[in-house]
């Protein structure tokens, strides 16, 4: 309990290993724990999809190498089964969104960087922070353990639409339990982030001197705080439906395989699930992208050696984006038979929300104008993020317009759309962030040649994966199909499926330089000092790696976050903690 130890105390203490690296309360250790765990989940989710891509490229053929190890329920005779495909698809989505991207963007980068950037010694509630991680991890393990349930893992899609999910196998119950853990973890985390960002800012660090990354995290935390509880409520209701025999989401008179499922109960509403789910899940997509935008902004400012263009517009746009994201959710439900007045309303809000997204993108692009750019590895990822995010955002517009959504809904076009935002978007931002802050975390640089290889091939193949999906979708190929070639338009689009699959497998190969680079650099990378990129924000004022408690002397802030190339200065950067 005692936080009254003086600041100097902690330098002398030697903690046992398990307190220092496993049950640590240090935000940096927790950030690294989140990052590593989430990267493992990312890899696992990717592996699931690589297996599914075999079925899509070569339907009905045995999966080479690993097919025989998957077990009879998932792959009989090495051929992926329909049930196996469904389970893999549902778990791919769930793992990627809830166990990989959010924990990377918020748990990993947010935890590590945010307290440093505001000059704080740690999070406001260090032990709560530790609890967040240790609730997230069991949540993830529960999710994965569901593969060993009778009937396999959850197989009703990452959206778990009722009534399908209510009558699904036991894996779905595990999914719901896992979600309750993950939501709880996120809620604790978001409370911690908001309190930290508001109350622990260093002296002189007013709100409009905060790096954009901190703003992005702050808005993200509010989204998590207020949007996640409705999904928690929905999960509780679905859990009741599954284990207590209620029928919140089960309509009266529903007959499945000749058995009436819910009678006389008063009747539930499958649409209620969709509403509660998307009330979270639309804000959730901004939870996926905002931290990425934060990371990219930092990297662009540092490597263009210019202040970000339109810092205030960026901040206001992020806030507006967060706010609007609560009133667009029904654009995922245009096809559920809602009235025209209502769909017009949600169409309008959806068009409005794309404005701040475009403002953010425009600010970042204008920031490049006239700069003498340093083409470092993080900057390459950041630069390629911009057009990828643009494609992702722009392909959202036809989906937000009801007339075109009738054609595009539930096709591969939707898959293409959101993957452009999260894969070459957020995941590229995550890579950029890893290359950018690696020297802070380890005190060593990552190898630049391997990094360039990683970037170049990832960039090529990731487009090979997602660009064809947009065309397949427009040709009418539906999502969540076990065998696309059986669909009427299939013939002409099958070649594209093969191309996508091969791109995906090659994308995996392109990650090998990264993996090698990551481990090699931890031990062998070139040693660097506190501020290798000559950046201005406070995290670079701390030693690399920063000790427990972060700063040698408590920093005081004298200027805004991106004072690069200020005329009349000796260096081309003025750190925030240096008197101008």
């Amino acid at each position: 309990m005692s936080k009254h130890d003086t600041h100097a105390d902690h330098h002398h203490e030697e903690l046992p290993f398990w307190r220092k690296y496993i049950f640590s309360v240090d935000h940096k250790v927790i950030g690294v724990q989140y990052t590593i765990t989430a990267l493992v989940f990312l890899m696992f989710g990717f592996a699931l999809m690589m297996i599914m891509r075999w079925q899509l490229a070569y339907p009905g053929q045995p999966i080479p190498f690993i097919g025989k190890y998957l077990g009879d329920t998932i792959a009989l005779d090495g051929i992926l089964s329909g049930d196996g495909y469904n389970a893999f698809g549902a778990m791919h989505g769930t793992i990627m969104v809830f166990l990989a991207i959010v924990p990377l963007g918020v748990g990993g980068f947010g935890n590590y960087v945010l307290p440093l950037q505001i000059g704080a010694p740690d999070m406001a509630f260090p032990r709560l922070n530790m609890a967040s991680y240790w609730i997230y991890l069991p949540g993830g393990i529960i999710m994965l353990a569901s593969f060993f349930m009778p009937g396999g893992a959850a197989n009703s899609g990452w959206t778990s639409y009722a009534p399908l999910s209510v009558i699904a196998t036991t894996g779905q119950t595990m999914w719901l339990l896992g979600m309750v853990f993950l939501i709880t973890s996120s809620l604790l985390g978001s409370v911690n982030f908001i309190v930290t960002a508001v109350q622990l800012r260093a002296k002189g660090l007013s709100f409009f001197r905060l790096p954009f990354f901190v703003w992005a995290q702050l808005v993200t935390s509010f989204l998590l705080l207020l949007a996640f509880p409705p999904l928690e409520a929905a999960a509780v209701l679905q859990l009741m439906d599954r284990v207590a025999g209620t029928s919140f989401f089960m309509p009266t008179g529903l007959v499945v395989s000749g058995v009436e499922q819910a009678h006389l109960s008063g009747g539930g509403s499958p649409l209620l699930w969709q509403h509660l789910f998307w009330f979270l899940a639309h804000p959730e997509v901004y939870v996926l992208i905002l931290p990425a935008l934060g990371i990219i902004s930092e990297i662009i400012a540092t490597n263009t050696r210019k202040p970000l263009w339109g810092y205030k517009s960026l901040v206001y746009s992020a806030i507006f984006l967060g706010f609007m994201s609560f009133i667009v959710w029904a654009h995922h439900m245009f096809m559920t038979g809602m009235g025209t007045t209502l769909s017009t309303f949600f169409q309008a809000t959806t068009m409005i929300i794309s404005v701040p997204s475009v403002i953010i993108l425009t600010c970042l692009i204008i920031s490049l104008y006239g700069a003498s750019i340093r083409f470092t590895v993080p900057m390459l990822f950041a630069l390629s993020f911009l057009p990828m995010f643009a494609i992702g955002g722009l392909t959202g517009l036809p989906l937000g317009l009801t007339a075109s959504d009738i054609h595009l809904h539930d096709t591969y076009y939707v898959i293409g759309h959101f993957h452009y935002v999260v894969a070459p978007g957020t995941i590229f931002a995550v890579f950029a962030g890893i290359y950018h802050w690696f020297p802070k975390v380890t005190g060593r640089m990552m190898n630049s040649t391997l990094g360039r290889l990683h970037w170049f091939f990832s960039f090529i193949f990731i487009n090979g994966v997602f660009m064809p999906m947009l065309f397949q979708g427009m040709a009418g190929i539906l999502r969540r199909q076990y065998d696309q070639s059986e669909q009427l338009h299939g013939a002409s689009a099958q070649g594209l499926s093969v191309m996508v699959s091969w791109s995906a497998w090659l994308l995996f190969v392109a990650q090998i330089p990264f993996i090698i680079n990551f481990f090699w650099s931890i031990w062998k990378g070139q040693k660097v000092g506190a501020n290798p990129w000559e950046a201005t924000t406070l995290e670079w004022a701390a030693p690399s790696p920063p000790p427990h408690g972060n700063f040698d002397t408590v920093p005081v802030v004298y200027c805004g976050p991106y004072e690069y190339s200020v005329p009349g200065k000796k260096t081309d950067f003025c750190p925030q903690h240096v008197v101008a």
Partner: protein, 276 residues
């Protein structure tokens, strides 16, 4: 815990919020709780508005026990008062009195749960039988009958597939006394062949009871959570308070905020579930 770094505003209020970290954090947490109960409340309204004719009770009191719930409302309000009194006592450095009020709060919370237990178990011993062909009970032709299983009725078994009771060969039911009378009609024998569905008054009975159990169950979990925290401070409090009285008062203030919120939720649940 040792090895702690000194966190700013751990105790002194921050100028922007006027709060110390813990209190600000607790308020944020409560905001998320509002959204949690809000979603459930909204689901309740949606399901009720959409319920087919005759599947929703006219008001909760038709099925639920209003006097018990009124009693519980008073218990919970009182516990809120004792909670805030505990904090006030600690602010005046009267630790013994603070601990006493804390203990009373804990006991009141326990009382609430005991009453809730009786309410719940009453529901699980009460049955409704929906008939295929109407039967005549007490001179009225009815299509569903409520009552308790007679002593010599063979036990019911759960059918897993549709998550309901299996239809037995026959049941022996003591029907409820009709409204306004105390006299029970004689025990009825109902043939399995005429039973469409049979259910206790548990969550599976109807969407109304499903909502009732989910909302009060979740609220009950919040009570239990609060009791655990209060118990912790009851046990460790006097040592803690001796060492750092002001910090201890802060902790109790935060616990209190949570506790009042739980009370506040009940203030809405009570009329919505029981009286409307």
């Amino acid at each position: 815990m040792s090895a702690a770094v000194a966190i700013p505003h751990d105790m002194e209020p921050h100028p922007v919020t006027g709060m110390y970290n813990g209190k600000f954090g607790l308020w944020l947490f409560l905001a998320s709780e509002v959204m949690l109960f809000g979603a459930l409340f909204s689901s309740y309204v949606l399901l009720r508005m959409g319920a087919p004719e005759g599947t929703w009770p006219k008001h909760g009191a038709e099925i639920l026990n209003v006097p018990l719930a009124t009693f519980n409302t008073v218990v919970l309000i009182t516990s809120s008062v004792t909670m805030v009194m505990a904090w006030a006592a600690l602010k005046m450095n009267n630790i013994a009195r603070g601990q006493l009020f804390l203990t009373v709060t804990f006991l009141l919370a326990g009382a609430f749960l005991v009453v809730k237990y009786f309410e719940y178990s009453e529901k699980f011993n009460h049955f409704e039988v929906w008939l295929k062909e109407p039967m005549v009970v007490d001179g009225n032709s009815v299509s569903s009958i409520r009552g308790h299983l007679a002593k010599d009725c063979p036990p019911l078994t759960k059918e897993t597939h549709i998550r309901a009771f299996a239809i037995p060969e026959f049941i022996l039911l003591d029907p409820d006394a009709p409204a306004g009378s105390k006299e029970h009609p004689p025990t009825l024998r109902i043939d399995g062949g005429n039973i469409r569905r049979i259910s206790d008054f548990g969550p599976a009975h109807s969407t109304f009871l499903a909502t009732y159990f989910t909302l009060t169950g979740l609220h009950g979990l919040h009570i239990i959570g609060g009791m655990v925290v209060i118990l912790y401070f009851m046990l460790t409090g006097s040592r803690f308070a001796q060492k750092r009285p002001d910090k201890y008062a802060d902790r109790i203030e935060c616990t209190g905020l949570y506790w009042h919120f739980v009370d506040l939720v009940w203030i809405f649940l009570f009329p919505v579930l029981y009286l409307l």
